[in-house]
Symmetry: C2
Subunit: 339 residues, 2 copies
């Protein structure tokens, strides 16, 4: 048996969250419903609760169909787990694209408003809107598994071994409903992302079919596109690493994604986090133009191989001016952190 029950959208647990016009974005049917609701023509204003990557991707989607769009967030900055500096850059990007950002807000209730509109009650104000999108995360759907006696891990998702087996060896689990292993922190984590689910499903299926495959775990890699910017991260952020008791240092550099004058040239900010004693990379985050994601992906491969900063400073990357400078931002950052 394979348990692949996925996740459900987390809800703020306030009055009015079932009103017409209040959506979450969990699967294709949600997307279709949102699109249809907008096409009915009464929607001029969209309000997004949350400031993670679903919120950021959706504010671009709402702006692209001409909606007046705001993000309402309990914290001070979007994507704050990437650090205050990167959070401020993201804030600038969304503001420059005409999205309003309301920080430090607590949602108290949703209410039907005038002329088929909606009202959002926060700790600060009442906001008129036509559509509410809740994007505050997801929760593993584990009621069935739990009632059947399947063990949960510390994250609240289904515990599995590297063969994707639960505590019952003939009951497998894969995808967003189960935990995985973080290769750098060496702890169980819940990373409900499609690419991870895909690999877990492959490993579970191969093992059920008689092969002997292991899923080695994740680095917590993710990325998202925010208007014409790219944002990506892999491994551990500096503050998470410190919370885990690791002795780390980091460097953040600004560099061009390619030489000035080439099509798509745009600044890029890259942060490397390394273990101080071993000099080994433990995480990287990037934000900027085209190529932020590709730098993080090559650093994800470097992380998997346990490369030191010295090895990263000398990585033999394919170089030509339309793609990069002779010293890539990755080289520059590693050299700076080595100093």
């Amino acid at each position: 048996m394979v348990i692949a029950t996925g996740v459900a959208a987390r809800l703020p647990n306030v009055a009015g969250q079932d009103l017409e016009g209040v959506f979450c974005l969990r699967d294709l049917s949600d997307a279709v419903a949102i699109k249809r609701f907008i096409q009915e023509g009464r929607v001029k204003r969209a309000s997004i609760i949350g400031a993670g990557f679903i919120a950021l991707e959706m504010c671009e989607a709402f702006k692209s169909v001409g909606l007046e769009t705001k993000i309402i967030h309990r914290g001070e900055l979007p994507m704050q787990n990437l650090g205050e500096d990167f959070g401020r850059k993201i804030l600038t990007v969304i503001k420059d694209n005409g999205v309003e950002f309301l920080p430090d807000r607590k949602i108290e209730a949703f209410e039907g408003g005038r002329e088929n509109g909606l009202l959002i009650h926060t700790n600060e104000e009442r906001l008129d809107t036509d559509l509410i999108l809740i994007g505050i995360g997801v929760l593993p759907q584990v009621t069935l598994a739990s009632e059947a006696g399947v063990s949960m891990g510390p994250t609240g998702a289904i515990a599995v071994n590297d063969h994707m087996q639960t505590n019952f060896p003939f009951v497998y689990s894969a995808g967003d409903c189960c935990e995985t292993y973080h290769r750098i922190s060496r702890k169980p984590v819940h990373v409900p992302l499609g690419d991870v689910a895909n690999k877990q499903g492959y490993v579970a299926g191969a093992n059920i079919g008689g092969q002997d495959l292991s899923f080695p775990g994740v680095l917590g890699s993710f990325c998202c596109k925010i208007f014409d910017w790219e944002l990506a991260a892999t491994g551990l952020g500096e503050s998470v690493a410190r919370e885990l008791g690791l002795d780390v240092h980091s460097v953040t550099i600004e560099a061009g994604n390619k030489p000035e004058g080439f099509s798509g040239a745009h600044p890029l900010w890259l942060r490397l986090v390394a273990d101080k004693r071993a000099g080994r990379l433990i995480g990287a985050q990037a934000i900027g133009g085209e190529g932020a994601v590709s730098r993080v992906n090559l650093l994800a491969a470097a992380l998997t191989g346990g490369l030191t900063l010295g090895e990263i400073a000398n990585l033999d990357l394919a170089y030509a001016p339309p793609f990069s400078s002779a010293r890539d931002p990755v080289h520059i950052a590693a050299q700076q952190l080595l100093k």
Copy 2:
């Protein structure tokens, strides 16, 4: 002392190679001279001798200023070291962009033609043209070093150790004039590329300044842009690996660089070459739309880390639909080669 005498363009050693209108492209002054010669207005037809990456980049440059452009090559296909299949794709790209390709030609002489034009004599025909660009490779400039008693390596370039020292410990060498070490073939190679020169110079300078840095060598990574296509390679190609006596196998897949419908979606062909017994990657080549270079770069990091195909099939890359599919071409190729 540091010997950094670089390379000179290789010439075909035929009559007329010093005629006005015959160029090579070694440094900025060559580029300025070519541009000026074209701007004088008599140039309508450009002929490129060679079909490596300088030739491919320059045919795009010539087409972009409206010149009738042909490539004259001694071999059958451009970039033939990447395999016949990739060579055929490159040929299609340049032909689709209006570049004529004349294969299997031996250059016999250049001659001044009518109305300030030029004539190229090949083993097959006489060709009228206005500008000739020779792009058949480079030779290390080592006369000075050689006469001073500095040792050359088997490639004909200056032999250096990992600290960039020649046979005289206080004489360093860096850049295109010296050899380097290929991390996969474990042999000396001559790789006259700007990014390698840059890293070698850094290591030489640091050691001269009292540090103790090693240059770990190269993977032979390179890339180039051909019109709107990308081409990249790292590590060993299959035939080179076989010539070195390695027991290798390979897979070539066609996959989308990103999901259909996203801006920039384009097919991409990726070849992985692996050691059969150890299951370890030893090389990768890619050609296609946006993202061919970035896949090769993450595989360059994987090569540096000695990753196995199993590790590559499960690499935790940052995934979002504007950038890739949940199963990236890299995962698909590694999984296929594992079967």
